[in-house]
Subunit: 213 residues, 2 copies
Amino acid sequence: MLLYDYFRSSAAFRVRIALALKGLEVERRFVHLLRNGGEQKQRDYLAKNPQGLVPALQLDGGVVLTQSLAIIDYLETIRPEPRLIPADPVLAAQARAAALVIACDVHPLGNLRVGAYLEKKLGQSEGDVLVWRRHWMRLGFEALEKLIRPAPFCFGREPTIADVCLAPQVFNAERFGVDLAPFANIRAAAAACADHPAFRAAHPSAQPDAAGS
Amino acid sequence: MLLYDYFRSSAAFRVRIALALKGLEVERRFVHLLRNGGEQKQRDYLAKNPQGLVPALQLDGGVVLTQSLAIIDYLETIRPEPRLIPADPVLAAQARAAALVIACDVHPLGNLRVGAYLEKKLGQSEGDVLVWRRHWMRLGFEALEKLIRPAPFCFGREPTIADVCLAPQVFNAERFGVDLAPFANIRAAAAACADHPAFRAAHPSAQPDAAGS
């Protein structure tokens, strides 16, 4: 399998965590979102992923899978252990919901192309965009804080899909200066992730394409 | 089970479609997003769903599930037939990805609270917000058009999670005046959905809380 990756993309970070947790090795190709006018917008990449977003996972047969959460569900099917979706249906729904709070209601509002629209088309300043990003992160975290119950991971002693989404979002929150002090549960789960070798191996700072960026 | 519902919420519409496809009956309570300052922001509802979004599904034991896609995966577990997630892992990943293009990268950018932020905090006009909504829908549809292969539903002869997300988004697109002419695949799949009794039963115009709204 071949992962189209970018060190700072939090959706790609999720997939790297899932791969590392499951002990799956993949080849990687790096798509730099800021260089060359955005490599994700180049024709070759758009032929792989018409959304022009990372990550994308090319299977050995050539099929390309997109959308980090769909890729993670695929990995869960081909390599069921360790489970990222709990076996209990209610717990599974709760872990998925926590993941989706981030993947639907926080992350897309803060991504590059949305920031670019706010600045270029709506004439907002860089500062306004920062306030916007922090706003949606804080709002998402306020809900998430009540939805998870760290022990020490979001839903128990092992990481689930919720932690796979949480750690990259916490990385973003720190990068954009969101104060995590009010979020004890989130900090506890994020600390458990930060101590876990799979999360460390997947961290943006540990990626080859981070060098010189 | 008890569904917290609002006729025009496209996330609630998804869950109604899934329930109808699976022949599951639920009680319903209506949460009007525009009346009484937004009933989703009232303390009673926030105790059910700290995000203050619809839908939410309360199980008979009292546990409340949130996030439409997590709820649909739960329904898939408790009532596996008819399948909304294809059995083939690659097809499953493709159907999930199409659903997530809508659920992550289109729908959240166009929802009420984002429109309110753009108007109230960023001083954008109603017209600017309309252009913004159309922009993200069009961008999502351009990718989706290439990701689905209607026959006649998005991924074959029966609806999947992709159709469950597509039909509500097409409803929104029509409501906000997005021209669907360039999107032949999307129109084909949406037409198949519009003909299907479960999608008709779940349609906003067929809901009791639509009356007088």
